[in-house]
Symmetry: C2
């Protein structure tokens, strides 16, 4: 990381990829190929040879980068999840923003990622294989779920204080917030072919239901500075299909 390659022409972007560069690129290619293959066939039914072929690499090369098939799989999950965790943590939870909007800002991209990317299938993979890799489930719980749960708890507590929420249900069971996203992700990957689902419609409907603006009960109407944008009253009515 000191001075790059010794004498790079600087005009041509990548004239001679150094050995290290090529190696890193290969490793990435292998992980990408592994993601595709494992998603398609699951752990047991995936052949290391096929991963190699898809990565345009010889089988042996995989064993230079990963101890064995299982290590490849776990590394794959870890790195892919890592990317998603990073994305999630980049979502700024603005103080004073309505909880509903925050949830939407997190949920909609995930729903989208299930259609365009591999998020849904990754989730399916986790569910499918966590029986055989229990510490992956534990890793997932600690790195993702536990954090998400406590973040939701915090949001819910705030929302109750601000009058956006009525009961303490979400604080006690933050899982409830994740439920529609999980179900949508699963539906998309499993049944969408023959029973398409309007995912974002579902999420909207769900949030309309949970964040019903009932008697706003306006506990402390002291011009809460945090409630600056309490306006933005989206219609929130449901047009029937």
């Amino acid at each position: 990381m000191s001075g790059d390659a010794p004498a790079r022409p600087a005009t041509a972007p990548r004239p001679q990829p150094s050995r290290a560069e090529k190696s890193a690129a290969r490793r990435a290619a292998i992980l990408k190929a592994a993601l595709d293959e494992f998603c398609e066939k699951g752990f047991a039914a995936t052949r290391v040879e096929d991963v190699a072929a898809r990565a345009r690499v010889a089988k042996g090369t995989i064993y230079l980068n990963f101890k064995d098939k299982q290590a490849l799989f776990e590394e794959l999950i870890r790195s892919t999840l890592g990317a998603h965790i990073a994305r999630l943590e980049a979502v700024r939870i603005e103080n004073g923003q309505r909880m509903r909007d925050t949830i939407e800002a997190i949920g909609l991209p995930m729903i989208e990622a299930a259609r365009t990317g591999r998020l849904g299938e990754l989730m399916r993979l986790m569910i499918a294989e966590s029986g055989r890799f229990p510490h992956l489930a534990e890793f997932y719980y600690h790195e993702v779920l536990a954090r998400a749960m406590s973040a939701i708890r915090r949001l819910a507590r705030e929302a109750v204080r601000e009058g956006e929420l009525a009961g303490e249900q979400l604080e006690r069971f933050p899982q409830i917030i994740g439920a529609p996203v999980v179900v949508t992700l699963l539906w998309t990957t499993l049944f969408d072919k023959f029973a398409p689902l309007d995912s974002r419609g579902l999420l909207q409907a769900y949030l309309d239901l949970v964040f019903r603006q009932d008697a706003p009960k306006d506990k402390h109407p002291k011009g809460t500075r945090s409630g600056s944008r309490r306006i933005e009253s989206r219609p929130s009515t449901v047009r029937n299909s």
Copy 2:
């Protein structure tokens, strides 16, 4: 099935199981063993020999009853789901009962079945393998989900009319009702070991949230005969843990 065994002593309950009886018993034993094995290891990693051993049967016997491993698997899913469908359809949907109670009557046993039985794992199996057996997903959709969805739709329409529900969200997206159960089932099988979840508490909290008895709006107070038991006001408040 005509006249039982020719001369049964009538005192001993099962002195000579007929050939057909024994055969059926074996088939059942194989399916039971297959359920256990497939749930534990998934389709690809399960060995037919192990299923045979667990069923106290020789490997060849399995091939007398099922064309091959895949047929065994599909038959297993079909028959096990069949049992669950039967259980579900036995739930009488009483006219005039509150939707909340109906949902509870269906959801609680399912949650229980995830802990005591193999419902959660069966679901995991479906999710895991439906990639490789797409027509199983389709079967599941048509035999279970489509029916459930339309039943929920019907309930929701009724509930809106009776004033139990405010919006039409559940009618448009019946999946929303299934979401907490699905998530609970998954959580139970994946994370319960190191992050136990109060499943029924979650379901209660969820229903409290969705069926909030807001302004009862009492559209037609014409002494609705269907609302006979509109009393039964459970506290529905949440004691904080």
